[in-house]
């Protein structure tokens, strides 16, 4: 497995969900008008619990629990707990995001300026398109990798998640590729994220990576619970 492939696998395992199967339920939003501006409001103790499924097998892989530990003007600091669904083994990591949920530091990797596809643009609105570049630095063993991509806010729609929860959300698509192509292996990622202003974070996250066009990893993260510390 190449370094990039391993990184992709780790990234997918760290925070992902699967693709496919978004049942074409009723996607008509409760509020037909998306908010004109979105303010992300988070505080210590806010937490989001996601189920992470392998989208190839539909197997529940991981319970992912994200809790805010600190918030400043420039960062959202979180504790991320991974619970292996089959062994119940737990591990935790500190993950640092920018104020728009773009990942800056996962503990194992540092992203400059940030990992675009976990976040949202500050001026989010349906139809918005943009391109981005970021550099990934692996801490141990040291390594640097560059990525470039394009994104689009494709719609404002209703999305059903776990536990009977449903949210009005922006659907955002990201297409990212490692650059340059190394060892004739083209590595690409396709991500679809549903960002719900009412939950202050994404509520569903579909991740797919391909190597030379062939499916490598495919996962779906779906929100199971969102709460704020009382």
């Amino acid at each position: 497995m190449s370094s990039i492939t391993r990184l992709a696998f780790a990234a997918a395992l760290a925070l992902s969900g699967s693709c496919a199967a978004f049942a074409d339920d009723d996607t008509k939003p409760n509020d037909p008008n998306p908010p004109a501006s979105v303010k992300i409001e988070v505080a210590r103790g806010d937490r989001w619990t996601y189920e992470v499924r392998d989208d190839v097998t539909d197997e529940l892989k991981t319970i992912l629990d994200v809790a805010v530990t600190d918030v400043s003007d420039s960062e959202i600091d979180t504790r991320v707990r991974f619970t292996n669904a089959s062994t119940n083994a737990e591990s935790t990591a500190v993950q640092v995001f920018d104020p728009h949920w773009r990942l800056k530091d996962s503990g194992a990797f540092v992203y400059r300026p940030g990992l675009e596809h976990f976040g949202i643009p500050p001026d989010i609105q349906v139809g918005k398109t943009w391109s981005y570049n970021f550099e990934l630095s692996r801490i141990n063993p040291p390594g640097n990798f560059k990525y470039a991509g394009k994104a689009k806010v494709v719609s404002w729609e209703r999305v059903s998640v776990r536990n009977g929860l449903a949210y009005d959300a922006f659907k955002i698509e990201f297409n990212t590729a490692a650059t340059p192509v190394v060892n004739n292996r083209k590595f690409e990622e396709h991500i679809v994220q549903w960002y719900a202003p009412a939950a202050n974070r994404y509520v569903k996250f579909v991740y797919e990576s391909r190597q030379n066009g062939k499916l490598l990893e495919s996962t779906v993260q779906t929100l199971r619970d969102y709460g704020r510390r009382e």
Binding site: G45, A67, R79, N88, E90
Partner: protein, 233 residues
Amino acid sequence: MSQLGVGAFASVLLVAVAASAVAEDASKLDPTAAPIDAKIQVSPGDSWTYDLRDDVTGDVKGSVVFEVTKAADGEIETRTTRQMSSTNAKTTTVQRFDARWRRTDNGKYVWRPHLDTSGVPDALQIGKSWSFKFEALRKGSAQTEEYAGVGKVEAWERVTLPNGAAYDAFKIDVADTQTSGSGLAGRKHENHAVMWFAPAVNRLVKMIDESRDNGKLRDATVQTLREYKPAAK
């Protein structure tokens, strides 16, 4: 002011500062009433059940039960059962401690000589401070992690637990930093524990522990005693 006077003033100031930092659920006691060199007396069959709360979110995290299976030769061996609220999964392990409840083996890790952030120092008395070093070895791995830290017995105080029970306890503050080993990779890993040891139950009645990576909070848990059951005589 005489040197003695300056010393006394400094002591009063220190006590005052410490007192102001006492948690709302704890109140200072007459320090002269604290037992001298409290003994820890445990027997097979003694058990302690603790509730675990996530100190980041405030959520109930689960519970842990320590049941003594052996207490001899300066070692306490326990059957430890942990139940997590998120999955209801129950795991049982053998955990070993020295005679002061400092963990030496939890099944996954071995600590040499022991994990100071889990137990009580020798010659327990208010004001005692000490420094320590230990290494942690993950079983099946050749790599060790080394840690160094300091501890202090801060106070003798009454601590009230969520179940309403109250205990007279030593408040002990212990902090360590990883100094070498796997996973460090230029980052700083720190652990900090505040423990309340109640001689009446021969164990901790409350513990707040947190870990930080590069100064950022990685995890924080509060453990409070729900039930202490000495073995039937």
